[in-house]
């Protein structure tokens, strides 16, 4: 039994292709059933996000299955396969396992370490269980992928530290103020990045957002969004000393906050620290302000620098994650290998033969007066019993080998007869 992955992602296909291949989350039943109906596919899952479309399948006939999966993707979306072919990748066996472990651990994401992908795979798996297109192997496989992702998250720093400018600002603020509770934010001017940052500050405990703008109406409108207060543009300097965090992004050609003004403000605040974030280009705040004690000024480049450093750190952590994944692959691959019918029958026979030999020796040790003929008869008798007992299970296993129930039987036999230490990987 083999695990196969066919699909494309942001790394291999532009958005124009990806959007055409996307599966609607509201209508997963049809594609899932069609996927399972493919002759070589015994189990299947469809993962469809804005950055990737992937099919996970189980099959005995790997090569035929890959072809069928590709054709399925093309025909389901009415796209000629030739147009798709160059964007598609396929993995099988160990590579497929590694790929899915990497995807779920967010090592293959556009921004490494972003956690959404795990949730998306969980949702995809949810559809597959709802429409019963997964069996023993993919069940075990995806649960394993989830636990690997969890291990990566807890054992590495892959997801710590912000990789967006607005989150980086929040993290810096935390290092200055500790808790952001009852911190007051002032938003000067408007701009997407500033508004986003203001929202993050609010979500992280800041007590209020005050908005000011050269056009007062815009300030009022924006203030409503934050349930804050709007202040006329020429009045905000008088309130500056009550503010802990300032976000500016005006289109002003000159500095709107100078060195002297800020020195006065910090005096008025009795040196309570202030965090100024200047996202405007050209800048709104005189960079010399950063030299004032207890004022921390970050412009857009500084924040980008923090983000870049954090990203670099994530890439370093990703290497640790690969090591974890390597360990987990080996374990899972061994379990998968055990699911084949023929080796199972062989080891079952071996096990029973061992038992037979053991018991025979005990018996012969007690019955020392047997002549060779009698001994032969007993040997024949015991082997016949084993053959008879094994006949039916062997037939069933061999028949089941070609449908999806096969692995279940194999797994059951292995467990019932304790054929090998069961892989302990569901933790």
């Amino acid at each position: 039994m083999n695990i196969i992955v066919v699909g494309l992602s942001h790394k291999t296909a532009p958005v124009e292709i990806r959007e055409r291949l996307a599966f609607a989350p509201t209508a997963m039943e049809k594609p899932l059933h069609e996927l399972l109906a493919l002759p070589t596919v015994t189990e299947g899952v469809i993962v469809s996000t804005c950055n990737r479309v992937e099919l996970y399948a189980c099959s005995r006939d790997t090569d035929a299955c890959i072809g069928q999966l590709k054709r399925f993707l093309a025909s389901f979306h009415n796209i000629p396969l030739e147009q798709l072919e160059s964007h598609l990748y396929d993995y099988q066996g160990e590579d497929a396992i590694r790929h899915v472990f990497r995807v779920s651990s967010s090592l293959d994401s556009m921004v490494i370490g972003e956690p959404q992908i795990l949730g998306q795979i969980k949702t995809a798996y949810g559809y597959a269980t709802e429409f019963k297109t997964v069996g023993l192997i993919l069940n075990r496989f995806l649960h394993k992928a989830f636990s690997v992702a969890k291990r990566v998250r807890t054992e590495t720093d892959i997801a710590s530290n912000a990789v967006s400018v607005s989150f980086a600002a929040v993290e810096l603020a935390r290092k200055i103020f500790g808790s952001l509770e009852d911190k007051k934010v002032l938003l000067i001017g408007a701009g997407e990045m500033c508004e986003l940052a203001a929202r993050h500050f609010l979500n992280n405990g800041a007590s209020s957002v005050t908005v000011t703008n050269r056009t007062f109406e815009r300030a009022v409108k924006l203030a409503e969004e934050f349930q804050g207060q709007a202040v006329p543009f020429d009045e905000f300097p008088q309130r500056l000393h009550q503010i802990d965090i300032v976000l500016t992004s005006t289109g002003a050609p000159n500095f709107i906050l100078g060195h002297e003004k800020m020195e006065e403000v910090i005096r008025k605040r009795k040196n309570k620290p202030m965090f100024l974030i200047d996202i405007a280009v050209p800048r709104d705040i005189d960079p010399r302000v950063n030299k004032i004690d207890n004022i921390y000024l970050y412009d857009v480049d500084d924040l980008q620098g923090v983000v870049q450093a954090n990203l670099k750190e994530r890439h370093k952590e990703a290497k640790k994650a690969e090591v974890i994944i390597d360990q987990e692959i080996g374990q899972f691959f061994r379990w998968l290998g055990c699911l084949d019918v023929v080796p199972t029958i062989v080891s079952l026979r071996k096990k029973l033969e061992e038992i037979r030999q053991g018991e025979l020796q005990k018996t012969f040790a007690n019955l020392k007066n047997l002549d060779p003929k009698e001994r032969q008869a007993i040997e024949a008798l015991t082997s016949a019993i084993i053959n008879k007992v094994l006949h039916q299970p062997t037939t069933v296993l061999k028949q089941a080998q070609n449908d999806s129930a096969g692995s279940d039987y194999v797994d059951a036999v292995r467990t019932l007869f304790a054929l090998e230490p069961p892989p302990s990987d569901d933790n």
Binding site: K175, I176, N271, D293, V306
Partner: protein, 281 residues
């Protein structure tokens, strides 16, 4: 080897192990402390318990509160420092504070282990109840100010990184400026009364021993200078709004004065507080 020396040595080993673990834990670039930090804390706690036993054993053997010579004083100082750190750790749970305090305690103990450990008779004139009260208050004050010093150093490091926008691994482990400043203030408001009472109890003790409250010996003078420094910082904090960097620098200077008062005076200048004076001549 007497029991107290044996205990002292084991304590020193435990503190050293704990220090190494704290440092190992702190160099990892993680927001929170890991298992190593927890183990370090438990080992330190074990070391502290043993240190308590060391002091008791020494007290029993010597028959006086064991803060009468350099060895004893350094050991006592380390003991108060670790104790105060453990108290602060209960509130702030900061492995990084341990990574700074433990090495200091180890250094104090190491220096202490090189000094002579012999027990001599106590000068009968000085043997009174004021002695343990005076030294305990003074050393508790010292320990609290040591924590303030450590917080000050951490503040300056963290502030440097936030200002220069260049972050080392320590940035992630050091607490926020606000917390560090808060520690500075807490230490000041605990340490200052302790120090004040230490000086007053010393004066009372001096009066009962020598019949005079204050003699302007170098130790007293330096203690007073240190006291004024901390008084200025406390005043600045409460009225003018000193905080952050300035408070951190003050805490560091204050600590250096303290160190000189404690060690420099005893070792460099000879006076009534010198350890020789403590023992019967």
């Amino acid at each position: 080897m007497s029991v107290n020396i044996l205990f002292f040595k084991i304590t020193l080993i435990l503190y050293s192990v704990s220090t190494v673990l704290y440092l190992v834990d702190v160099v990892r670039r993680k927001e929170k402390s890991g298992k190593t930090g927890k183990i370090a804390r438990w080992i330190l706690l074990g070391g502290f318990m043993l240190h308590c036993a060391t002091l008791v054993a020494r007290y029993v053997e010597a028959g006086y509160t064991p803060v009468a010579n350099l060895h004893e004083s350094l050991s006592f100082f380390a003991w108060t420092l670790v104790g105060i750190f453990l108290l602060f750790d209960m509130r702030y749970r900061m492995t990084v504070l341990g990574a700074f305090s433990c090495p200091l305690a180890v250094i104090l103990m190491l220096v202490g282990s090189t000094a002579t450990t012999a027990i001599k008779e106590m000068n009968p004139a000085l043997d009174s109840w004021w002695f343990p009260i005076h030294v305990t208050l003074a050393f508790l004050g010292n320990a609290v100010f040591t924590v303030a010093f450590i917080a000050g150093v951490m503040y300056l490091l963290q502030e440097r990184m936030l200002k220069s926008k260049k972050f080392s691994a320590l940035y992630y482990r050091l607490p926020s400026l606000d917390v560090l400043d808060d520690i500075n203030y807490k230490c000041l408001s605990i340490g200052f009364p302790l120090m004040t009472m230490g000086i007053i109890s010393g004066a009372v003790w001096a009066n009962s021993a020598w019949g005079g409250y204050w003699r302007w010996d170098p130790k007293e003078t330096w203690a007073l200078i240190t006291w004024f420094l901390y008084a200025a910082l406390l005043h600045g904090r409460l009225t003018v709004g000193w905080r952050g960097r300035r408070a951190a620098i003050f805490a560091i200077i204050g600590f250096l004065c303290l160190l000189f008062t404690f060690l420099g005076v005893n070792l460099l200048l000879s006076d009534l507080h010198s350890f020789k004076a403590m023992q019967g001549r």
